[in-house]
Amino acid sequence: MKVLVPVKRVIDYNVKVRVKADGSGVDLANVKMSMNPFDEIAVEEAIRLKEKGVASEIIVVSIGVKQAQETLRTALAMGADRAILIEASSDVHQDIEPLAVAKLLAGVVKAEEPGLVLTGKQAIDNDMNATGQMLSALLGWAQATYASELAVEGDSATVTREVDGGLQTIKVKLPAVITVDLRLNEPRYASLPNIMKAKKKPLEEKTAADYGVDVTPRLTVIKTTEPAGRKAGIKVASVDELIAKLKDEAGVI
């Protein structure tokens, strides 16, 4: 069974995010970019499926600017077999919206016919949490989101989902789209020998036009603001004063 893993290039989670001067979005110029951490978990899970003999080939795909190649190379170095880059923009600040991404992925699925699409539940840049769901709808496939455990047996997959207040276990028929949550696994390091070998793995370059998908944004960002800064605390003179303030002012006890 082929497994398709869509991965997104996003601002590195360690970077202190800065809003652009005109408020149109986050400043991405000369900022460290990495693979979306949830997608990294999806790549790791696909590799584990291959190690168990469930998956036969892992194809990673990324949609965005040409630099997303780096993200794909990382996935190849971790253990994916080949990569597809769909160049959909030349501007690092243009986000490709979930529906356009889902349509492009549907095109890739038609061409590659994987038995499973595994991807992150959402990207940490704009937290849309929509692509996996839209893709399953476009394909008419089953979906399982927020996976924290995954077992594939025959033509179905058992998925434990992290939902509010607990865990839910469901069984879906394959082919399916499964989006993964934080606790599914801990992604491996791309080992140095594998990094060097990844250079020789195929990376196919496509454009959005190859799939006949219009990626023009439908949404307009009106404003981007930084979270409010934390206000300075105060010092209290005694325990009594602290208790009084917690009771009367903060209202927490």
Binding site: R73, A190, S191, L192, P193, I195, M196
Partner: protein, 387 residues
């Protein structure tokens, strides 16, 4: 000329740095304060390094290494160099390239176990009476029947306590040359436990806590011909062929530590407030940062250029000496200024600066002192005009 890093090189940096930060940094305080690296910790970290494909990554792919070009290898060295030396050298070992010079039998016995993390090597050249003047060594190997008999003492032998065997350079006779008599040197593999070979604790020293040195004694230590590495009497030729890039390795690890110190200095200058403003706003501090960054960049460029030329086959001895000299001196300067910017806090062992500063000291001495490097550089300049 091309200055950009490849995608692979960026990934190598990322993987190595993330390993160093998550797996090695948390154990630094223990090693620094106890001066000791526990064997169970070594085994634990070694297993992780092997799983991460970082162990022995300096080696070619066909023997189980990562098959890196010289620049990529040095980028990996720079990242490892950020951490406590004992931790990164022991737990993410880079076996000596000279092991590649062995016969197929020697490779089976020494090279492959080192790459798999089952054995450690050490290299013994220095003697109490032979430092920079290596050819002045007096420890000797003489023929006796079909065997070799080794006698004498080696000291400052790094991690020989941990090593399973030593590659030992011995004076094996003299030859006449147009410039007078010259000692012949032969390299040998000597296993721990060989009769007549003992390893004693060395000296406590200022740099690289937890990274030991030892004294090696040879007392009629008898070895067969099969223990010779390379050809008899061609020990320095073997060393020159296989150990050429070790100066660049020293340079690269120094660049890592200097970058770490600079990072601390920049953050502190931006956070620390005195006289109502960030101390980084005072020129006395900000100009230091500018000089530190500029010197570090210069050292990096010298090192990367030498690495690139190494793979082109055009590197000269002076190129490698310049890189080693500059990187080790820049590390000393950056470490010192980083402490100056931190004031008293810089001297406390809660921050890594005091030890980066201590560790910097040995770098200008081992792998050829700064004076030897200057000698090599100037000799090349003068030879070009017949000097």
């Amino acid at each position: 000329m091309q200055f950009g890093l490849t995608d692979e090189q960026k990934m190598i940096i990322e993987t190595t740095r993330s390993f160093v930060e998550t797996e090695l940094y948390p154990h630094e305080a223990e090693v620094e304060r106890s001066g000791h690296l526990r064997l169970d910790l070594i085994r634990d970290l070694q297993a992780k390094a092997i799983a991460a494909g970082l162990y022995a990554a300096n080696m070619p792919e066909e023997v189980g290494g990562a098959g890196l070009d010289t620049l990529s290898w040095l980028l990996y060295e720079r990242e490892l160099g950020r951490a406590n030396y004992a931790l990164h050298w022991t737990c993410v070992a880079r076996p000596s390239n000279i092991l590649l010079a062995g016969t197929p039998e020697q490779r089976e016995k020494y090279l492959f176990p080192c790459i798999r993390g089952e054995k450690w090597d050490c290299l013994a050249m220095t003697e109490p009476g032979a430092g920079s003047d290596l050819r002045g060594m007096t420890a000797s190997a003489r023929r006796d029947g079909g065997d070799w008999v080794l006698n004498g003492t080696k000291h400052f032998i790094s991690h020989a306590d941990l090593a399973d065997f030593a590659i030992v350079f011995m004076a094996s006779g003299e030859e006449d040359t147009p410039r007078g008599k010259k000692k012949r040197i032969t390299a040998f593999f000597v296993d721990k436990g060989t009769p007549g070979f003992t390893v004693r604790d060395g000296y406590r020293n200022v740099s690289h806590r937890g990274y030991t040195n030892a004294v090696l004694d040879f007392d009629n230590c008898r070895l067969p011909d099969s223990a010779v590495l390379g050809e008899a009497h061609k020990g320095f030729e073997v060393a020159n062929t296989w150990l050429g890039a070790t100066r660049l390795q020293v340079a690269a690890t120094c660049l890592g530590r200097a970058d770490r110190a600079l990072g601390h200095a920049i953050s502190y200058a931006a956070e620390r407030r005195q006289f109502g403003q960030q101390i980084g706003k005072f020129q006395g501090v900000s100009f230091k940062l500018a000089d530190m960054a500029m010197e570090l960049k210069a050292a990096e460029l010298l090192t990367w250029e030498a690495a690139w030329k190494f793979d082109q086959g055009t590197v000269t001895e002076a190129d490698m000496s310049m890189a080693k000299l500059k990187a080790t001196e820049v590390l000393a300067m950056v470490a010192d200024e980083a402490i100056q910017i931190h004031g008293g806090m810089g001297l406390m062992d809660d921050l890594p600066l005091e030890r980066i500063w201590r560790d910097a000291r040995v770098e200008r001495i081992w792998e050829g002192t700064s004076e030897i490097q200057r000698h090599i550089i100037s000799r090349e300049l003068l030879r070009a005009v017949g000097g």
